[in-house]
């Protein structure tokens, strides 16, 4: 229990002293997760909506593959990105490896199947009457799809928060692809891992608590949206 006490004390100290290493790591975590969410959303929202609303032939195969994608461990995604972006890789000449951009690419791969399947779930649960109502009033196919997504706005927000949280809390990609370089590509989760590696369990726990302090309000926000949807 002394470890927990030490962790809380250190966490308080980190926050009040504005520890530059930890806050930089938190900034890297938030920035990378946000960029990954935005990138993934550009691809996953139209794709998920298309699967859920247009129900194309073979949609169930797509959904199955998304589910498979959900269960790929982050380190495997990290390896995949590594294979492409290492100096000897196909895209090595871009010199992206061990940069924040590489983390974003990896986390986008992590976020895409999660976000796409959540968007698919939300849009597939809609009564066909919704799309028909928009179509019969003269909306284009795209306009009707946008209306449908508007109808499931709370579910979309919840999906976005869940995806953001997934990126924020993962460590495999951040370390494998980002290199965990101090004051550069080290995310908060990678920082926790580094502190554990140094035997600084208290400091590790403190950083973990800070991460929790960011993640929990996000979860609560998500639950609020969820309630709003049922109301």
């Amino acid at each position: 229990m002394d470890l927990l006490g030490e962790g809380f004390a250190k966490a308080w100290h980190l926050v009040t002293s504005g520890d530059p290493v930890v806050f930089h790591a938190l900034g890297v975590s938030l920035l990378c997760s946000l960029c990954s969410l935005a990138l993934a959303a550009v691809l996953a929202v139209p794709y998920g909506a298309w699967l859920g609303l247009a129900r194309p032939r073979g949609a169930s195969l797509h959904v199955f593959l998304l589910r498979v994608g959900l269960s790929i461990p982050t380190v495997v995604i990290g390896l995949l990105v590594y294979a492409f972006f290492t100096r000897r890789g196909l895209l090595g000449s871009l010199h992206l490896f061990h940069t924040k951009a590489a983390i974003v690419i990896g986390q986008t791969l992590l976020a895409f199947p999660l976000l796409a399947s959540l968007v698919h779930g939300a849009s597939a649960s809609l009564d066909p009457v919704v799309a028909e109502s928009a179509r019969t009033l003269g909306a284009s196919r795209l306009g009707a799809a946008a209306r449908c997504l508007g109808e499931v706005r709370p579910a979309l927000l919840t999906a976005a928060l869940a995806t953001f949280g997934r990126c924020l809390t993962e460590v495999g990609i951040a370390v494998m692809v980002g290199g965990a370089i101090l004051m550069d590509t080290r995310t908060l989760t990678a920082h926790v891992q580094s502190e554990v590696g140094r035997g600084e369990f208290g400091a590790a726990l403190a950083a973990g608590l800070l991460l929790l302090a960011v993640a929990v309000p996000l979860t609560l926000l998500g639950m609020r949206f969820e309630r709003g949807r049922r109301a």
Partner: protein
């Protein structure tokens, strides 16, 4: 002018719409009568261009906006009755400020700024009809517009139908309240005699009008 020849819709083994022939002239007010499960809703969705055919041929379908369907259980988009009508007005390229006027015509002006989530079935129906009328369609398809309405609601919907200048199709199990010019019956399981009678009636009407249409849907 919409002309449907021997159209039917199946979902696998289920017959959603038994073979039906029908002609709809401009300005006509047609009542489609039949018990639950006779295919009324499916027929309206076909006429609205929302349901592909399994067999048969249909001509003269109009795109969404020019032909508007009000579902049996209408869906109101998130927001208020006003925002729903305003959406239809925007699609029609007309000023959204007219929204209140359309709601008032259906006796639903007092609902304008409530959340649609709190509306009763009858209130939803009136708002949906106001939204459809605001689009100013050439053809209006109403699926059981009187179900669940109280007396003032029935009068308001009836009056709105009467005031509507375009082609009107109303589907309901009984159509005593509707201001109609013609009735057509749909039966759940087509008995040979029934079909013959139905087709002879419609066939006679088809003969009156020269076939013309700007779109053709052929069953797959």
């Amino acid at each position: 002018m919409i002309q449907a020849h021997d159209i039917s819709v199946r979902f696998g083994e289920v017959v959603a719409l038994p073979a039906t022939t029908l002609a709809l002239a401009p300005g006509e007010r047609l009542g489609v009568r039949g018990p639950n499960g006779s295919g009324k809703s499916t027929l309206l969705r076909v006429l609205a261009g929302l349901q592909p055919l399994s067999a048969g041929r249909i001509e003269g379908l109009l795109p969404g906006g020019r032909c508007v369907l009000v579902h049996q259980r209408p869906h109101l988009f998130r927001g208020t009755p006003r925002s729903n009508v305003a959406y239809a007005l925007r699609l029609a390229g007309r000023p959204a400020s007219d929204a209140l006027g359309w709601l008032e015509r259906l006796g639903a002006g007092h609902l304008a700024d409530r959340s649609v989530a709190g509306l009763s079935g009858g209130e939803r129906r009136r708002v949906a009809l106001a939204r459809a009328l605001a689009r100013d369609p050439e053809v209006l398809l109403l699926d059981e517009p009187f179900a669940g309405l109280d007396e003032p609601g029935r009068i308001a919907v009836s009056a709105a139908c009467e005031a509507f200048q375009g082609t009107l199709v109303i589907a309901a199990p009984d159509l005593d309240h509707a201001p109609l010019t013609r009735l057509q019956d749909l039966n759940p399981q087509p008995v040979p005699a029934g079909i013959a009678a139905q087709q002879s009636v419609v066939g006679a009407r088809l003969a009156d009008v020269p076939p013309r249409g700007d779109s053709t849907v052929t069953g797959s």
